[in-house]
Symmetry: C2
Subunit: 269 residues, 2 copies
DNA sequence: AAACTTTGTTTTATTGATAAAACATAGAAA
DNA sequence: TTTCTATGTTTTATCAATAAAACAAAGTTT
């Protein structure tokens, strides 16, 4: 009993000794709001955090005072304010990537009539950094800033396939250990074979799989030294998709635009 | 002496009693990174915060552990990671506004060859929520998420002019009290007259002024009940601008697109 | 090479954040 | 209505975050 407690304390002082609960929870609160939950009550926030209502009461006071959230004086419910954009945009603005690729992605969207995206690697995830939704009414709704497990998306696999061997293996073993919930199970051997064939073909064509109901064609973008730096894709809802069209027109179009972006990247960055 | 201290303590317990320093500083650290300062050292962050190095040391440890920042193992310097996008994009994704206006803003950009933007009101500020940069090389670089004082921009004045009287006066008095640094001095009487004429004309044409070297044409966007909900603009660097072109082509084009967006807003939202 | 400066990191006393409890209020159920 | 439950708010004891100081290591200046 004594020993167990000591061990736990030891672990804490090794791994979490400098973790700040206040900051952890403050950021968690900001991330708690979503398209589905645009407003939240104090009780909801407290329950989501798994703490008493005192803690978020103070956090919410602070965030409101800073202008990141507002409180409806009648319903007492909280919601995000535009100022939260300041937090992420400093990062996005520091990237040249989406800016430079914008005209190409728009062209691709207009040529195919489907939504085009760009994503980069962040740990085990693909992060969407640019998005040009199809002009049609029913469109794909994966937004800029979204994170998805790298092995669950066409863009992710595409990026993974073209990574240097050492980085690829490191990521694969991490994915196997984690076995991320809601994502497909990682069978490393199978995945490794798939990545090999992706690398040879130069593109990924997903018909459904993880992104249920979505067809997706992805290609890698290369920078200096022929290193993969990003991926682009075209996505369309399954019921609007046509296999022949995809094979004959869309895949070549995505590959073509990816090559154009890559050669532009090599020239500029 | 005694009394002064007591007074200060009283004030604190009234206004700041629930303010959390940890959260305040954590968010300040995230905002400290910029296009100019993409990486920062512990000492720089501590000095910017005006505190000892211990505090940011802990904050940075926490933010790194959460995946919002990284530390270069060699230089020891810190930088933002893509995960910070998660903080702001939940908000942007909850807005229909930029999504619905996108095709119109793109059209406007392509017709004029200049950068188009959309902004909304947030307290005393205009926040940019959509941006379509000109396809030319030298372009305006006011990014989505940027905040500017409402009376310093064409979009801001445009929005302000069409606000209901009570809200307008409330904002004007706030602006006068604050006298925001780096922004033009607010002479309420003069500004009120200007807003009146803006409301009659229906657009704002800025030749320079606060946004030095930038010409800008802004129009209001109206939603249900004819309430102003946003503004759009076209911006171009001064040396590329042409007064006759602006007057004859650009201003009518912006007004036309603004009307189109407004009538679409009334129909949909 | 020696002294100085700066930077990152660790330790400890003090200050501030948190949880539990108590309270107030409002809406739902009896 | 009365009771009950849920929610927001305030108070106080405990626990975590902070500043100051001390330390180690690297880079500069002398």
């Amino acid at each position: 009993m004594e020993i167990t407690k000591k061990k736990l304390e030891k672990q804490k002082s090794d791994n979490e000794k400098y973790l700040s609960n206040s900051i952890l929870r403050g950021l968690e609160v900001l991330k708690m709001f979503s398209v589905e939950n645009q407003t939240l009550s104090l009780a909801e926030i407290a329950s989501n955090l798994g703490v008493s209502r005192t803690t978020p009461y103070r956090i919410l006071y602070t965030l409101e005072e800073c202008g990141y959230i507002y409180q409806d004086s009648h319903t007492k419910r909280y919601g995000l304010r535009p100022k939260v954009l300041e937090l992420g945009y400093t990062y996005l603005n520091s990237l040249e990537l989406p800016e430079l690729a914008a005209p190409y992605l728009e062209k691709l969207r207009d040529e195919t009539g489907m939504s085009s995206h760009m994503g980069i690697l962040d740990g085990n995830d693909i992060v969407y950094i640019a998005r040009y939704p199809a002009r049609s009414v029913a469109t794909i709704t994966i937004n800029v800033g979204s994170h998805l497990p790298v092995h669950a998306t066409a863009m992710g696999k595409c990026l993974l396939a073209h990574l240097p061997e050492e980085n690829k293996e490191e990521l694969l073993s991490k994915l196997q250990v984690l076995q991320i919930p809601d994502a497909p199970i990682v069978e490393v051997k199978k995945l490794r074979d798939e990545l090999q064939s992706i690398k040879e073909k130069g593109y990924v064509f997903h018909k459904g799989e993880f992104e249920t109901g979505v067809w997706s064609v992805a290609c890698p973008i290369f920078g200096k030294d022929n290193k993969v730096i990003a991926a682009i894709n075209i996505a369309i809802t399954q019921h609007a998709a046509d296999e022949e069209l995809m094979e004959e027109k869309i895949i070549p179009a995505v590959c073509q635009v990816a090559r154009e972006i890559s050669s532009f990247m090599v020239m500029t960055i």
